[in-house]
């Protein structure tokens, strides 16, 4: 490297050194350690005991009677997490995009509407969970009261009914789309007016303008939000932990909740580390799929 390059490298490194040090100490080292722990039996009170692939085996492929493999709670929590994601992800994306489009139309009181939509995403998870727990109360809650007043004779038990608990949680997640909407709004501002004008000259109506101008132009934003949503949805923890504790009958036990229980209730930290690594790999795989597919539908403006 030439001297000038070396100097630049020095300067650059100096500035990013806080992140670099933090990355090594708080990210790289712990990730490597957790990989190691995933191959041990570790209860923190004594040293880790190497057990090879046993944790992974116990989680995924250890044979049990009646053709079952691995830890049923692991598979159940994985299924629950994906079930939730299948509902919350598309609904969240559609609702937040739709809201952003609505909020982008110049209206009287636009700022008020935007504030109202954004407000719930400021609420701490704990408060939000308790509030919705109260709203979903099958006997005294507002939701069932409203349903009954509309004539529904036997409204669902929501959080105490295994069939309705997860849909209830997915519905509740829509309340917090505010920050996603804000990001969409920022993206919508950046769409150049000339394109709309050109489309209108060509005779395109509102819906065609949406499909052919707006969406492609904000596709990078959609992509960003999609990645963030995937990462977030697969890590859901606080809200269901407080609202249902995983019940009824583990119908709402999310992956991270089971992980947390293994780590801090049973002190099976090696087992929990194995679960964490599997979670990481799943997220990476899904993100990779998203990146690969982005070639086909994401258009960068390219400046």
């Amino acid at each position: 490297m030439r001297a000038a390059e070396l100097r630049q490298l020095g300067k650059g490194m100096a500035f990013i050194s806080p992140w670099l040090i933090g990355f090594i100490v708080f990210t790289l080292l712990p990730v490597a350690m957790s990989l190691y722990y995933s191959f041990t039996d570790f209860a923190l009170l004594k040293g880790p005991l190497p057990v090879g692939l046993d944790n992974y085996r116990e989680l995924m492929w250890e044979p049990h009677p009646r053709g079952r493999f691995g830890d049923p709670h692991f598979w159940n929590s994985l299924k629950n997490t994906f079930y939730y994601a299948a509902m919350a992800l598309p609904a969240g994306m559609l609702v937040s995009l739709g809201l952003a489009l609505l909020l982008n139309v110049r209206l009287f009181g636009q700022a008020v509407y935007r504030t109202i939509i954004f407000l719930p995403s400021l609420v701490p998870a704990v408060a939000s969970a308790m509030l919705w727990m109260w709203l979903f109360n099958s006997k005294l809650g507002l939701i069932n009261a409203a349903l009954m007043s509309l004539g529904v004779k036997d409204p669902p038990g929501w959080l105490s009914d295994p069939r309705w608990a997860m849909p209830a949680l997915a519905f509740m997640s829509l309340w917090g789309v505010g920050h996603t909407v804000v990001i969409y709004l920022a993206g919508l501002q950046d769409v150049p007016t000339e394109l709309y004008e050109a489309a209108e000259i060509d005779g395109a109506g509102r819906w065609r303008r949406l499909w052919h101008v707006t969406l492609p132009m904000i596709s990078p934003v959609i992509f960003f939000n999609l990645i963030m949503a995937i990462i977030g949805t697969l890590q859901v923890f606080a809200v269901p932990m407080i609202m249902t504790g995983g019940g009824p009958a583990r119908a709402t036990q999310f992956y991270t909740m089971y992980l947390y229980d293994n780590a801090f209730s049973y002190l099976k930290m090696g087992y929990a580390s194995a679960m964490a690594w599997i979670q990481l790999l799943i997220i990476l795989a899904l993100t990779a799929v998203a990146f690969w597919s982005s070639r086909h539908w994401v258009h960068y403006q390219g400046k």
């Binding site: 039996d41 019940g247 209730s265």
Partner: protein, 491 residues
């Protein structure tokens, strides 16, 4: 106008920041401050509210007597989820010196080496196995060593509402029962329960005769009243497929089959839960329930009229206690709208069956003041102190010696019922299983599956049996591996 708004906004922002700064600098730091010059023993305990205040009283007395003598100060801190918090804090290397846990933690924590053994310190104080009633002493030990000493013991009995029995005397007699006494067998209990159920106009359950879900704290121990347990410590095997265990959970399920699972969960959602005035037993919407001796206190606090059925209607609690001193136990009981009796077993051979639980004081491993911590634990276990706290908390005693004062003037006139139960050979304590938290979680979801009618009782129990046994085997195998690794390292 815009300028004015902006100035207003800036002022408010300034005020906001000022308030934050004030809070930071002058805000509260700790909830209590220990005096200087004494060894501070941190004591994490689960009790809040009245029960917490009562324990704080004992702590204060210790601090003013033995504490002052020996230079010890016990700092009482009320902690939620105290079991998990203590475990994590111990794993983190910063445990409290004394922790007030539940009986369930003894086997698990001891097996994980998270506790200090207390044998020597106890022996030096004269606390040996004959100091406690057998069922309690055994439950404080694991693999032959002593790991904790009790703070307050209790047991489970049938609580029933005598007034409602009288009101519904006809219905009870029609079901073949006797409204002047509680049911004596499980089969009788079911008949009483069905006769006492009431529904509202919409067909929903308004009053329940009995609901296994309410309060639902002891469901995992249901087999005790059927002469069995879910775990056998001698063979270290789970016994979930034992006929009697299946029978026990089938009984539990029968309520769901009769009432419908949704009506049970709806009833619970609308009920007030334990500690409010809308506790269903207090509100009269639940006629019989499985509860502990503390009910007398809770009823006194939340619905005192139930303890003044015939007399003393206008007396406050202390005055009533004083007035009751002049009465016999039978007269005291007659004045209570509710009664306690042994929870009926499935067969008279299991008479006296109960779940003997307790709150226990332990010293976590790594505690920095073990000797001082034990001074406090030993103090709590003196007969007069133990009887005092048990009296305040309205619980029975775990000691073999029980004073007449305690028996006859306990705030709960039915305390003799509990004392007899915990002295009976059929009394059982929590099974000493080292993977108990996993057992609880597994049993909870299994029981939910059973009463939600998701699977048959046998299927659900069989699956739980396989899973739990396998987990236990793995746990023991790992322990053995560790011991071998340790032995190898030493060579």
């Amino acid at each position: 106008m815009g300028l004015l708004l902006r100035q207003l906004r800036n002022t408010l922002l300034g005020l906001f920041v000022l308030a934050a700064a004030v809070l930071l600098v002058f805000g509260p730091r700790r909830s209590t401050r220990p005096p200087a010059g004494r060894v501070v023993v941190t004591y994490w305990e689960k009790w809040t509210g009245t029960e917490g205040a009562q324990m704080q009283q004992i702590v204060d007395e210790f601090n003013n007597t033995v504490g002052r003598e020996k230079g010890i100060y016990v700092q009482y801190l009320s902690v939620s989820n105290v079991d998990r918090k203590t475990l994590v804090a111990t794993a983190a290397g910063v445990p409290p010196d004394v922790a007030g846990l539940w009986d369930a933690q003894i086997a698990q924590f001891a097996a994980m080496d998270a506790l200090e053994p207390l044998d020597e310190m106890a022996r030096a104080c004269g606390i040996t196995s004959d100091y406690y009633k057998p069922v309690y002493w055994k439950a404080c030990t694991y693999e032959g060593r002593l790991w904790g000493l009790i703070s307050t013991p209790w047991a489970v009995a049938l609580h029933y509402n005598k007034r409602i029995f009288q009101e519904k005397a006809e219905a009870i007699r029609k079901a073949g029962g006797d409204p002047s006494r509680p049911p004596r067998t499980i089969e009788e209990l079911d008949r009483y329960a069905e006769a006492l159920d009431e529904r509202d106009e919409m067909g929903r359950l308004k009053v329940a005769g009995y609901l296994p879900l309410e309060p639902g704290w002891f469901m995992v121990h249901t087999p005790f009243w059927f002469g069995a347990s879910i775990y056998d410590e001698h063979s270290q095997r789970f016994t979930l497929t034992d006929q009697r265990v299946i029978q026990a959970f089938q009984w539990l399920r029968s309520y769901s089959e009769r009432l419908g699972p949704k009506s049970m969960t709806d009833f619970r959602a609308g009920a007030g839960g334990f500690s409010g005035t809308l506790n269903p037993f207090l509100a009269g919407t639940l006629v019989m329930e499985q509860q502990g001796p503390w009910m007398a206190n809770y009823i006194e606090e939340q619905r005192p009229s139930m303890n003044r059925w015939k007399m003393f209607k206008d007396l406050k609690r202390n005055e009533k206690l004083a007035a009751e001193r002049k009465l016999s136990v039978e007269e005291r009981r007659a004045n209570y709208e509710w009664g306690a009796a042994p929870f009926p077993p499935s067969d008279p051979a299991y008479a006296g069956a109960t779940f003997a639980g307790f709150d226990v004081l332990v010293i976590p491993a790594g505690s920095k003041h073990k000797k001082e911590a034990f001074e406090f634990i030993a103090y709590v276990n003196r007969q007069e102190v133990m009887e005092k706290i048990c009296s305040l908390h309205c619980k029975n005693s775990c000691l073999t010696k029980v004073s007449d004062e305690f028996r006859n003037h306990h705030p709960n006139p039915y305390i003799e019922v509990f004392e007899n139960l915990v002295s009976s050979p059929n009394a059982r304590a929590i099974p000493p299983c080292p993977i108990w938290p996993e057992v609880v979680d597994e049993m909870n979801s299994t029981i939910q599956n059973i009463y939600l009618l998701n699977a048959t009782t046998e299927e659900a129990l069989r699956e739980a049996q396989e899973r739990l046994q396998q987990k236990l085997e793995k746990f023991k195998e790992r322990q053995a591996q560790r011991r071998r690794a340790l032995a190898d390292a030493r060579r």
